[in-house]
């Protein structure tokens, strides 16, 4: 097959801020919070011509038996803030932040992503996740207010609203014409959205960046999550540790796109993966074994089991068999973890079955079920496996999660990437400047009726009503007087300042 016919392997990387995916006890492991760690990893993968750098989100530290969970890496920065800093020390790398659609509001999130897209020259992506749990909600004004069944309807409307905000400025609205004295076009940024979850109107502050809309990412495995990805996302993250499951997922998600008038190329599927590279396959296998035992210490193995069993299992031997007692439905044991949504009893049943079939100890089982797709071997072996996976519809590429911070992808970038380049499946250099360019995505989807600069959608939407006069959702607005007041040209006070 000629090289040009081969599918390109899309590569991204994540700096994990939490969970047992980082070997913090390794002497080469540095800070997971210092800006220099982020800069080093971002610059490394930019050297490897990766598509983007990804940061997850977690808004409450996990707890185990009522106390902060202390065995894994924990503690991370606010992701959009870090990515804005990285935009200054990278030139092409995409910058993807996870921001949930539950404990946020569209105006602010749309504004922050428009800002990141501007600061980075068109490299922003948004991983839209959902949350519902009261545990996380305890950190927020609204608390755990969202029924689980509503989380994707809110997410979908959240995204729709954000898109309306990004489209509230059309291309020519920012004029900055000193000669005519016109800074903006009249009505720039005007919007109104009235829906089930959001009822908002006014003026949006931020003309969108080069991509118009950031790239939209989804990560979640449920049926509702897949549907949301098929209708709205451009990248989907998944988590599999077996190629057959990955292929099933791939086919299933790609099949769903047609329903929304989209082609299979409009959504890239990128499972998260580890890569363990050494001179030979044998050395790599030994190192991978060592890493997995570092990641799942005896204490970690028991803690994971306790989370599923919902009871104290500290008396069990991590190198012994699984307990034959039944789980209890006590959510107290591990909070802030999204893994066990299938239910404790069902998860325990599956784990026990797996352990019996493969003769696993507790620790071996936890290593197995916690694992993500791992590529282990010499640079050639790893490059071949990744290429094969992508060419056979297992994935469109991978989000690599290094097991060491920040140097964990050095070997991959220095030794595997050149082989992928020789194979003609990974770019030698960036051919565009925006993340959409790297991902081979078309321009941002525009809502029907958007006619480009000069034909803004907002005119249609706003003709029906002057939204400023509408009452707010919960209580009537007390500012009905606003519309009657003329704006004074020469106010008493400087308009840019408010006390405090």
């Amino acid at each position: 097959m000629p090289a040009t016919a081969k599918k390109q392997v899309h590569l991204a990387a994540q700096l994990p801020g939490i969970h047992n995916v980082t070997v913090w006890s390794d002497p080469r492991s540095e800070s997971q919070i210092a800006i220099d760690s982020f800069i080093r990893l971002a610059q490394t993968i930019e050297r490897g011509k990766f598509d983007f750098f990804f940061l997850a989100e977690g808004l409450r530290l996990r707890e185990h038996k009522g106390q902060v969970y202390d065995l894994d890496i924990a503690g991370r920065p606010e992701n959009l803030t870090v990515l804005s800093a990285l935009a200054a020390v990278t030139t092409h790398l995409g910058l993807a932040a996870t921001v949930n659609a539950t404990f946020n509001e569209p105006y602010e999130v749309a504004r922050r992503f428009a800002t990141l897209d501007r600061l980075s020259g068109g490299r922003a992506a948004w991983n839209v996740v959902t949350s519902y749990d009261a545990f996380t909600g305890e950190n927020f004004r609204r608390g755990g207010f969202l029924p689980e069944a509503d989380r994707y309807t809110r997410a979908a409307e959240f995204l729709t609203t954000a898109r309306e905000l990004w489209d509230s400025w059309s291309g020519g609205d920012l004029k900055a014409d000193a000669a005519t004295g016109e800074f903006t076009a009249p009505g720039a940024g005007r919007f109104a959205h009235r829906g089930q979850h959001f009822d908002i109107s006014g003026r949006f502050t931020t003309p969108p960046g080069p991509q118009g809309h950031p790239v939209i990412i989804q990560s979640g495995e449920s049926d509702a999550g897949r549907e949301f990805a098929a209708s709205d996302a451009e990248v989907i993250f998944s988590k599999h540790n077996r190629i057959d499951a990955a292929r099933d997922f791939y086919r299933d998600v790609k099949r769903r796109l047609a329903k929304y008038g989209r082609s299979p190329d409009d959504l890239l599927i990128l499972p998260t993966a580890n890569a363990v590279v050494a001179d030979t396959d044998e050395e790599a296998a030994a190192y991978a074994e060592e890493i997995s035992r570092e990641l799942v210490s005896p204490q970690t193995a028991i803690a994971h089991l306790e989370a599923v069993w919902g009871r104290d299992l500290s008396a069990y031997d991590p190198d012994g068999p699984l307990p034959d007692i039944e789980p209890e439905d006590d959510a107290h044991f591990l909070k802030g973890h999204s893994v066990f949504r299938k239910g404790r009893a069902e998860t325990a049943r599956q784990w026990r079955k797996l352990a019996e079939e493969r003769n696993f100890s507790i620790r071996e089982l936890v290593i197995e079920v916690g694992g993500r797709q791992t590529f282990v071997g010499s640079p050639q072996t790893v490059a071949d496996a990744i290429d094969d996976y992508v060419q056979t519809e297992g994935a469109d590429g991978f989000v690599l999660v290094p097991h060491l911070t920040p140097g964990g992808l050095d070997d991959f970038v220095d030794r595997v990437v050149p082989i992928l380049q020789e194979k003609g499946v990974h770019r030698d250099d960036y051919t565009g400047t925006t993340l959409r360019d790297h991902l081979g995505l078309s321009a941002a989807p525009r809502p029907a009726g958007w006619g480009g600069p000069g034909q803004p959608l907002r005119d249609e939407r706003l003709r029906a009503e002057s939204v400023r006069d509408r009452p707010a959702r919960d209580q009537p607005l007390r500012d009905q007087s606003v519309r009657d007041q003329s704006v004074r040209d020469q106010p008493l006070r400087d308009q840019k300042e408010t006390s405090a």
């Binding site: 602010e108 927020f140 931020t206 500012d479 606003v482 300042e497 006390s499």
Partner: protein, 423 residues
């Protein structure tokens, strides 16, 4: 209250002696906003009006400010489009409109700078305290200890409609005639703002120093005894904690607020490390500082433990040639179709004249000044290349940065976490 202020009392004495009675250095901050603080500044020659929302423009400005050894720069921001009216939106198209998120902008500038403090403004009325706290903490990590935060309430009812969750008081034309009148209907929002800052400070303290132990022997990454739920319960919201972001280089980033009246003075006394005020002359400065001191007294703040630095705000138009800055401002007023009006005193003159004024006012006990350049980059460059060397000649301003953190520049201590056990 507005108009050009010449130098009222040019003592002309070498200020190394008179200007620093206690030897304390003079502090300078620069307030950056759009094309400058004059609404017509974007039409000036040298302005870069098409780039006001882009990274390179801000990188150049902040590099210039750092070159001038400025303590910190502030970035204005709001969750609504700028307006010529204080209390409601307008439909003007002839002034700068549009903005980007100031925290993200400040973070972007962090790796491009090494010493200058970065102080973004954020809204505290429609936002989540947890998000704000981790955003500013992250700015402190990203800048290695140079983060500040200017919390600002949202007084425009139209901003509330951007969120659709609550209403805020609608100010009337009468309210906005006077600072005390404005702040009356906003008292509840200031009280809530103080809660937001307090919750943020508790979150910043929620990881003690040294919480990350990486103890391979016991398998523990964290010492959970050093990571704390804050259990913040305010009148308006509650936050469980702990933060997800470990303790930052400054421990607590620097909180800066602007205040014009009794209520915001109390907010500053409760919440701020630096308060910027807007006097119009030396006696007025002394009177305001007395009011701030009363607010400190009323709120029971221990200023030995928690010093409050006072800055005065001034809008400045600076040119070397006498009379030139005043002419420049007059020209801008003409382009704008109205004389510049401001909450802060408006200064036009030479760098030497401004230095005289600063030292004169400072003798009332101010720690420093936040200068708002009338036009950018012109008046910023005049500050860094005209005013700063003038102050250095008089021996009242640093000739190099002596520390790398913002608290360090201001001589403020790094707070210990309130949760750390004594001894």
């Amino acid at each position: 209250m507005t108009g050009t202020t010449g130098v009222t009392d040019p003592k002309g004495a070498p200020a190394a002696a008179t200007g620093t009675p206690d030897g304390a250095p003079l502090h300078l901050a620069v307030a950056l906003d759009g094309a400058g603080w004059h609404p017509a500044a974007w039409r000036e020659e040298g302005a870069r009006p098409g780039e006001l929302l882009d990274a390179a423009y801000w990188a150049d400005l902040v590099a210039e400010a750092e070159h001038g050894l400025i303590d910190f720069v502030t970035f204005e921001d709001a969750l609504g489009l700028q307006s010529a009216a204080f209390h409601l939106p307008d439909d003007r198209t002839d002034q700068v409109r549009g903005s980007i998120d100031a925290v993200l902008l400040a973070a972007h500038l962090a790796p491009l700078t090494t010493h200058i403090g970065l102080v973004p403004t954020t809204n505290v009325t429609h936002t989540e305290p947890f998000h704000l706290a981790i955003g500013i903490a992250t700015l402190d990590h990203a800048s290695k200890g140079r983060a500040g935060w200017r919390p600002q309430i949202s007084s425009r009812a139209s901003d509330a409609a951007h969120f659709g969750r609550r209403t805020t008081p609608q100010l009337t034309e009468d309210d906005v005639t006077d600072s005390e009148l404005i702040s009356q209907p906003l008292r509840a929002l200031f009280a809530e703002g103080a809660e937001v800052v307090e919750a943020a400070r508790q979150l910043w303290d929620s990881w003690e120093d040294g919480a990350e132990i990486r103890d391979a022997a016991t398998g523990r990454f964290l010492d959970r005894d050093k990571v704390h739920h804050i259990d913040f319960q305010g009148a308006n919201f509650s936050v469980k904690g702990p933060s997800i972001t470990p303790r930052t280089p400054q421990g607590q980033p620097l909180v800066v607020s602007l205040a014009h009246a009794t209520t915001p003075y109390e907010f500053a006394a409760l919440s701020s490390d630096v308060v910027a005020v807007t006097p119009h002359d030396r006696p007025g400065t002394a009177a305001i500082l007395a009011q701030v001191a009363e607010a400190v007294e009323r709120t029971g703040r221990d200023v030995v433990e928690r010093p409050l630095r006072t800055f005065a705000d001034l809008i400045v138009f600076l040119d070397d040639e006498p009379g030139s800055a005043a002419r420049r401002k007059a020209r801008l007023d003409e382009v704008a179709g109205a004389e510049l009006a401001s909450d802060a005193e408006i200064f036009t003159g030479t760098p030497a004249e401004l230095a005289d004024l600063l030292l004169d006012w400072r003798s009332t006990g101010l720690d420093g000044f936040r200068l708002r350049p009338g036009a950018l980059p012109h008046d910023l460059t005049a500050i860094t290349r005209g005013l700063v060397p003038e102050l250095q000649r008089r021996g009242v301003f640093r000739t190099e940065y002596a520390s790398t953190t913002l608290r360090g520049h201001l001589g403020l201590p790094r707070p210990t976490s309130r949760y750390a056990k004594a001894g």
